[in-house]
Structures are given as C-alpha cells and as structure tokens.
C-alpha cells in the first residue's frame, strides 16, 4: 500500500539536464518543485575528483557512471517477426543513472539542428516531391521551428558556456564558422578550444577540397566562465577523459557545474534519490495526472501528488513510463495507429581510420575538441540524384588517447594479436586518428517502442521492448557520407587509411552513440504525436515530456543542444502560458 505524501506543485521524474533546467525555471516562478531520481547524488568533489576520475577501467570498461541493467533494462529485436530478448549488459548506448544524468558523462558536443530539420517532411515534399519519401518512412515536422527555438538554444549555450565559432550571426555569415547553421542572435559565449594538430590537418584537407571546416562547438570551457545563473566554471585541461567520465575541474558543462549551485539552496526545491518512479497516476477521467508513484531503495512505495508532472528521464524511460501509465494510445506498427512508442530512431555512424606520418599526441584531447564540415548534413546538398533523405556531419575529434578502448586500431593487414600487433600499435598509437561521420536516422513504421509481452522488471512491470533496424535510406546515406569522409582522410596525406562502412543489421552490442530518440514524438497532429509543440501531452494536459524522446526523427547531429533548447522552450511555455491558465496549450 503506497504511503501518500504531501502534494507539490510540480514533480520531475529524473534529475539530469532537463530536470535541472525545469527545476530552476519553475522554482524561479515560485513553484514548489520536487525531483525524483533513481540514482545517487554525485558532485565534482569528492565523486569526480581529478585524481580518481581518469580511470578507464573503472568508468569506460566497467561502466562506473551508467545505469545498471540488473536494475533497469529493455528487450530488443530487429524486426516484428523476431522475439525480443532482454539486454543484460549495456551495448550500443549508455544511459546514465544518478543526479546530473548523462550530462555528467557526455563529451560536450553541442549542436543546433538545421532550420530545415524541424520541417523535414514539408520541406522534402516541397523540394523533391511527395514520392521522394518512402511509404514506410514516418517522418514529420516538429510543430516548432528553428526560429521559435533560437532564443532557447541561446539560453542553453550561455548556461553551458559553449566554446565555439559562430557561423551565422543574424544572417551574416561569419568566417571560420559553420556557414550552414541557422542564424543565431549572437556569438558563442567563449572562443573555440585550442586546436589539436590532427584537427589542423583535417581543416587544411577539407579546405583543399573546397569545403568549409569549422571548430565544433564544445561544452568544454576554453576559458573560465560565469553563467547567467552566477555559477562559475573552470577551464578545460585537455585531459582527454570526457566521454563516459565526469569532469574533475568544473570545465565540462553539466547540471552540477552550471545549475545545481544556484538550484540546491532554494527553499522551494527538493529532490529524492534512489527512487524509481513506476507510474504517472491519472484520475478517473484519464485526462488529468494526480502525481506519481515511486518505490524507494528499501522497497517502500509512495504516492507523490502533484499538480504538474514533467517526465525528465532518459528517452526510453520516459516512453516506458508513458506506456505503463496509459498516457497516449500505444503505437501499433501493423495498423500505423496510436502514438506512444511511435517513431523511435537512432544515429548511424561510420569512420575512416587515418594513419599519418607525424605524431598527433592524441592523449591531449577534450570531448568536443574537433573540426567538422557540414556540407553533407540535413538538406545542405541536393538529394535529388542521390535517392535518400538526411545526412550528417563529418568531423575529426581529438577526444583523447586512452589506452584500452580509444586507440584507432592498426592499418589493414596488421596482425590482430601478439608481437605483430604490438609493433603496429607502438608505431601507430601517436599517428592514428579517425574521421567520423555522424548520420541522421529517419523514423519508420517498423521502428518503435512498446511493452514486452514476456519479460518483466523487478516491480513486475513489463520491460520496454525496442524494435529497430537500419533501413536502405540510412545505408545509402551513410555510404555517401563515409565516401566523403574518405576523401578528406586521403587529402590529409596519410600513410594509409582504413574505411569502416556501416554494414549489416543494427546491432545493439557494440557502442555507437547514446542518441536514442522518439517514442513520445512532438508534432502538430495528435494522431501522430504524443506531445504538442510545447512538449505537453495531448491527452493529459498536466503532463509534459522532455528530452530526445520527443524528437520525431533523428537529425545528423548530437542531441543535447536541442534537448536543452526544448527544455527552456517548454519551461517558458509552462511559466508564461500554462500556469496562467492550466489546460491544453494547443487545441487538438
């Protein structure tokens, strides 16, 4: 029997990036806010201390900062005719557990999506015709535009202290930046990071090919920075331990380094850790949420009443909770009816190993220290003759040179073990780099999330089931991108290159990215979306859903910048529209 607790104005499920943003904004508006997090509290000191955190075995290999599949997992299959099996180890994506969420262990690669990304269906149909979109491709416009989100992208970038070179300030193309980006109101708060030698070579090679390379925008601070909340950050040391690690010297943007010092002292904010939210509770009409039910680490069940419920957990977990709570009609791929679980998408990546003649010192790196080109992303190029939709950026990242998992392999023909392998590693460790492609994935009828009919979690709830595979459109696109990457790699004048195309079915085992999207897609039409343009549930108007689960398909960029922008956009709508007149912000 659940113990009923005292009601709060707003309960946030999860306490990562989006919950921290919502909590700050809603407490500033005077609301009593409670965040419920399944993991533990963590902070820079002592948990991420510089002298502990650079431990590849503990964090990268043994997953020190990630969720534990023994406690929460999902089942997976490639297609509807297969039986899904539960994941007992993390594989191609690494969601976090604990305060700060994946904002603790991300690289800090911070992007804005292209203006056309937000209206992909209408734009594609207008430019290439309706028949250009395959019948089973369920892509849709977001219901929100780049121009709507620009001020909120700006807010997130100034929160984080992003280091970068603007490419388009108020319509004026800036030398050295990404000329394809949407117009931004102002430059980044900090200048770009110092370059690594490898990015200098990439830059030159790309320019030689007539491309317009630029330094990637980084949530690794190039200088000390104080954000608008008054929170000070340090300066990146290029230690090379960002992705899968936490930052030890306050220089990677995270909830801990940008928001929590301004949030935690507030009297109208509280949080509970080691608590699993198992349901969003609805009243008898099913149209209004009354709060959430959660179970603490001792197994005690509590009912937390709230006027407003905001789902701020990781993408799949938000969708899982919606399905368990009966919010939105579950998606059925056979009939193409229903919305919750619809339009799951992922990212498609590939790489080209480049073996150079000079030493690159890859150990000096930062998670978002990179140089990229954007000519082949979104609709920045003519897709007409190519027969696919989407694209991606091509970048050379110098994220680090860790010894176990982060060396770029050996040239073709090298022995896979023993003396020959060691000799090749010795010769190539300092000289090898990788040019990566980061491709979009469209949404399809057969790619979705639902409740598993067989496997259940520790609370007796059905596990979430993921059904996903890459489609021809993505293979074609990725091949195109990889060939372009190889051209740049060759122009770097290497000893040799090794091209790694993305081939075969999607496998959930080797790590690719933690860029899982969709399942609670946003949009203008309640028949194809779970939430409206303000991230508000169409069916239960006092439930909002944050994070990449609202992406209707996945553009060719890392998601965090847009996740942050959408959180600020939704927080603003709640503050300025919803609180004045609680109810649907868009009429269905």
């Amino acid at each position: 029997m659940a113990t009923k607790l005292k009601s709060v104005d707003a309960v946030l499920v999860g306490f990562g990036w989006t919950a921290s943003i919502l909590a700050k904004e809603l407490t500033d508006a005077g609301l009593q806010v409670l965040a419920i997090e399944r993991g533990k509290f963590r902070d820079t000191v002592p948990d991420f201390a510089t002298t502990h955190i650079q431990d590849e075995l503990k964090y990268a290999v043994r997953h020190g900062l990630f969720e534990e599949p023994a406690r929460e997992t999902l089942t997976f299959r490639n297609s509807l005719d297969q039986e899904a099996l539960p994941m007992r180890h993390l594989g191609s994506f690494n969601p976090a557990s604990g305060v700060g969420g994946a904002g603790i262990h991300w690289n800090g690669q911070n992007w804005r999506f292209l203006p056309t990304d937000f209206k992909i269906r209408s734009h594609t149909e207008a430019r290439y015709g309706k028949n250009f979109i395959p019948a089973d491709m369920t892509i849709q416009d977001w219901g929100v535009t780049y121009d709507d989100l620009e001020p909120y992208y700006d807010k997130f970038e100034y929160l984080c202290g992003i280091s970068g070179q603007a490419g388009n300030v108020q319509g004026k193309i800036q030398p050295g930046g990404n000329p394809f980006e949407g117009p931004r109101a102002r430059a980044y708060p900090l200048p770009p990071l110092k370059r690594s030698y490898a990015t200098v070579l990439f830059d030159k090679a790309a320019k030689d090919l007539g491309l317009k390379p630029f330094p990637c925008a980084a949530a690794n601070t190039s200088q000390p920075y104080k954000n608008p909340y008054g929170v000070q950050m340090g300066q990146c040391t290029y230690c090379g331990f960002c992705e899968w690690f936490a930052c030890g010297n306050y220089s990677k943007s995270s909830p801990q380094t940008t928001i929590l010092p301004a949030l935690l002292p507030k009297d109208n904010f509280s949080y509970r850790t080691l608590c699993d939210v198992t349901r969003v509770n609805l009243d008898s009409t099913g149209k209004r949420a009354t709060g959430v039910t959660y179970v603490d680490v001792q197994g005690r069940e509590f009912e937390q009443p709230a006027d407003l419920v905001v789902l701020c957990a990781f993408a799949q977990h938000n969708v899982h909770l919606l399905l368990l709570s009966g919010i939105g009609k579950p998606y059925d791929p056979r009939t193409n009816q229903g919305v919750t679980g619809r339009n799951y998408a992922y990212q498609i990546t590939s790489s080209v190993n480049v073996f150079l003649k000079e030493n690159m010192n890859p150990f000096m790196g930062a998670g978002a220290l990179g140089q990229a080109v954007d000519e082949f992303n979104g609709d920045n190029f003519d897709h007409g003759p190519l027969g696919f939709i989407g694209g991606g950026y091509i970048a050379l990242w110098t994220t680090g040179g860790r010894p176990i998992l982060q060396q770029h392999g050996a040239p073709k023909g090298t022995a896979k073990w023993g003396g020959g392998w060691k000799k090749s590693m010795h010769e190539n460790y300092l000289k090898s780099v990788s040019v990566a492609t980061h491709g979009s994935v469209m949404s399809y009828r057969g790619s979705y999330l639902d409740l598993d009919p067989t496997y259940r979690d520790v609370y007796g709830n059905p596990l979430l089931r993921l059904t996903f595979d890459f489609h021809d459109n993505e293979y074609k696109m990725s091949k195109f991108e990889t060939d372009k990457a190889a051209l740049i790699a060759k122009a770097m004048n290497p000893q040799s290159i090794k091209i790694n195309y993305r081939e075969g079915h999607y496998s959930i085992l080797p790590y690719e990215t933690t860029h899982n999207t969709g399942g609670a897609a946003m949009g203008a039409d309640p028949k194809t979306s779970v939430v409206n343009r303000y991230l508000q549930s169409w069916d239960v108007s006092n439930v909002f859903v944050m994070g990449s689960s609202v992406f209707p398909q996945n553009p060719g960029y890392n998601p965090t910048g847009t996740v942050g922008a959408l959180a600020y956009w939704a927080a603003d709508a709640i503050k300025t529209k919803y609180l004045k007149n609680p109810g649907p912000l868009v009429q269905a």
Binding site: A49, T51, H52, P224, Y229, G230, N249, T257, P261, P265
Partner: protein
C-alpha cells in the same frame, strides 16, 4: 538558511551603532532592534560555534577542541530550561562583557569575551533581542571535558587578572569614523584575533602579536592580517579585502577551512559599509619587517624538483603551471599570504584533506579541491608543500614529513 541581508538601510543602522552613538529615541521599535541584533549576531559569527554539525541553529553542542580539553558550545536559544530564556538583559551583558555566567561562574575564553567586552551595551541589547526571537530548543548543554585544574572555573579569576582587559571600545578621536567602526568590529564582535593572533601557553593572546597570525587549532593556521607583503595583507587592496569577506574569494586567495565557515556564517552578511570599515582598519596596520629572509628558504634541490614534479602532475589542472590559478575560478598559490604563512599547517591540511570554498551569492559555485591523502605519502606532501611555498617568488619556512604526519593523524577528511 539565512536570509540574505541587502546592504542598504542596514548599513546605515549598523553605522550608527559605534560605541554609544545611538540616541535613546532612535532605538525605535523592537523590530529595528531585532533586525540590528540579527546583523550583529552575524557579525559575531555566533552560529559557527553555537550550532552543532547537523544540529539545530544556536542550540549549541559543537565540540570545540582546545589544547586543554574539549569545550562544548552552549544553547543560546531562548529555551528557559536549557537555553538563555531566563537570562535578563543585565545577565547577558555580564556574560558578554565580563565572561560571567548567569549563575555567577566564570566562562572560559573559548567564548570570546576578551573581544566581546568591547561591544557596546546597546549592541548587546540588540543581540539579546534577536536571540530571544529564535525558536526555543530544549537541548541540555554538555559539560566541558577539561583537565584539572582548568575544570575548576574559579581558576579563570587568575587568568582574567593576568590576561583579560575588561572595557568597552573607546573610539580613537584621531582616526576617522570608518576606521573606528572597523576597529570596533575587528577587535570586538568580529573577534578576528581569537584565531589570527598567536596565543601563549595558557591560551591568551600574546601582547605585541596582534593579528600577526595564529593557530585556529585542528591544524588550521590563521594567517597574518597585518600589512606584511609576503604573508600578510600588504598586497591586498581594500576592495580585495571586502570581496574576500563578502564572497569567500578574491584574486589573491580563497577562504578554506574555518575561514570558509566564517564567510558562510558571518562576513558575507556584513554591509558594504562595515566591510569597508574592516578593510580600512586592517590596511592601517604599520608595515613591519618581513620575518622571513628575502631569499627563498634553502630547499634541498632534489626535494624541490620532486615537489615540482608532484605539483605538475597533481595541481596544474587548476592552479596552473605558473601558480597563478585562474582568475575568478581557482585561487593562486603564487604570492598567496595563506600559502606563505609562517606555519605550513593550512597548506598541508588542504593538500591532505581537500577544501571547499564558501558558496555565497557572489560566488555560487562553491568550488572544492579534492583530497590527496590517499595518493601522496608524508614525504611527497612535504616536498610538494615546500615547492609551493618556495616557487614563483614565494618563500616560507620548510615543513617536514614528520610535520605532515602529525597533521595527517590530526585531521578528519573533508573530501574525496
């Protein structure tokens, strides 16, 4: 949580309270007296000692280790049975002014009555008025754990004869009003000298050593507040003193350990006028000859290079290779008076246990440094500390592995 007091208005009220400057009529309402009392209680940092870790505010019970045994702070909430609820104004004034309890027995000078004696009667009245508004907490005071003969309170009569100079603050007419206000705060309620002045074997401030640095205890050394260029405030501008006390850090240094607590519980709440008065008073101390030789202490070359290597591996990420730290983020070690203090305990303490800066509205982040005790042995810490204290133009007496060992044994871990 303390309400943040905005400077304006209160500054004026505080400014009026020098000695007996308040005309009877201006005391006004109880409300203004209470508000003034709150500011005075903050200025006196009463909360730091009179609140136990995790305990109710002002209910006492915090163990205060002294060289003579442990003393526990007392309950100063208005609970009639266990607090000061039955104390009359006169009884409270006698405690502040003479160090005498309600029952007529002596207080020990862990309660800083040698400083509080200077506080004006009106200010003491306001302090009591504020304390009387607190929620009463029923919490018995713990008996002191002093050894004989100090556990006999009567011995304090002799101590007072020798070292206690009763008497309210007397303004120096030759100095400015601001200077006098600063002196009143520093020498009175602020009781800066309780830590920053060296003490004799009986725990009394040494005459002639005023604010030249002292031992806080628990292996924290409170650096000199005199105009010493190397280990004092000689290089600090008045604005930097104000910034430090208001926010916990400035371009020269960051408060750590007990001083971070002082900033957190006390000085951040002082008005700008009061902080400027404190700065004006401290900056007026005569420039004295540096006790250290002008050359860096003679460090064994090999030990120095070992220390440099350790510094490079462990410290440069924040404090930078040149020891200058990062402006607004990480404090410099180069030129730092705390780093070059006569006694190395504070630096050793911070290296071993880490430290956390005060999180104040001006500097919210509250940066922390991790502990290195798990990683560096006593010799390594000594090498590192000797390097830090004698690099980049710094110079200070050497420490030893034995000294580090003593600190290591004596401290509780504050971080990582």
């Amino acid at each position: 949580m303390h309400a943040l007091k905005l400077a304006c208005g209160l500054a004026g009220l505080l400014g009026l309270s020098i000695a007996n400057a308040i005309p009877a009529g201006a005391q006004g309402t109880t409300y203004t007296t209470i508000e003034r009392g709150r500011d005075l209680v903050n200025a006196g940092d009463c909360a730091s000692c009179h609140t136990d870790e995790g305990g109710k505010p002002y209910a006492g019970g915090l163990a205060v280790p002294t060289p003579f045994g442990t003393i526990y702070s007392t309950n100063i909430t208005p609970d009639p049975a266990t607090g000061i609820g039955k104390w009359s104004e006169q009884e409270f004034y006698r405690a502040m002014h003479d160090g005498i309890r309600r029952d007529g027995k002596h207080l020990y000078p862990a309660f800083p009555y040698p400083w509080f004696t200077k506080v004006s009667r009106e200010d003491v009245r306001a302090i009591k008025a504020f304390l009387d508004t607190l929620t009463p907490v029923r919490q018995e005071n713990k008996p002191t754990e002093l050894s004989w003969p100090l556990n006999v309170r009567e011995v304090m009569t002799g101590w007072n004869e020798l070292y206690f100079h009763e008497g309210a603050f007397k303004a120096d007419p030759k100095k400015s009003e601001q200077w006098n206000r600063g002196a009143y705060l520093v020498e009175g309620l602020g009781h800066c000298g309780a830590c920053h002045t060296a003490t004799n074997v009986l725990g009394a401030s040494k005459t002639g050593e005023k604010l030249k640095g002292g031992d806080f205890g628990e292996h924290w050394y409170a650096p000199s507040l005199t105009s010493g260029l190397r280990d004092g405030l000689g290089q600090w501008s008045s604005a930097e003193i104000v910034e430090y006390l208001k926010t916990g850090a400035n371009a020269k240094s960051a408060a750590a350990g007990p001083m971070a607590e002082v900033v957190k519980n006390s000085t951040q709440y002082l008005s700008d006028a009061d902080l400027n008065a404190v700065a004006a008073y401290l900056k007026d101390s005569p420039v004295e000859k540096d006790k250290a030789t002008t050359k860096p202490a003679a460090v064994d070359k090999q030990a120095l290079s070992r220390g440099e290597a350790l510094y490079f591996d462990n410290c440069t990420g924040c404090h930078m290779e040149n020891g200058e730290g990062l402006a607004h983020a990480f404090p410099p070690l180069k030129g730092s008076s705390a780093v070059q203090a006569e006694n190395s305990d504070t630096v050793v303490h911070v290296v071993l246990a880490g430290a956390k800066m005060a999180a104040t509205p001006g500097k919210l982040a509250g940066f922390a440094m991790p502990a290195f005790d798990w990683k560096l042995n006593d010799t390594e810490v000594a090498d590192l500390v000797n390097y830090i204290r004698n690099a980049w133009g710094n110079h200070a007496p050497l420490t030893s592995a034995d000294a580090v060992s003593k600190v290591r044994k004596g401290i509780e871990h504050a971080g990582g």
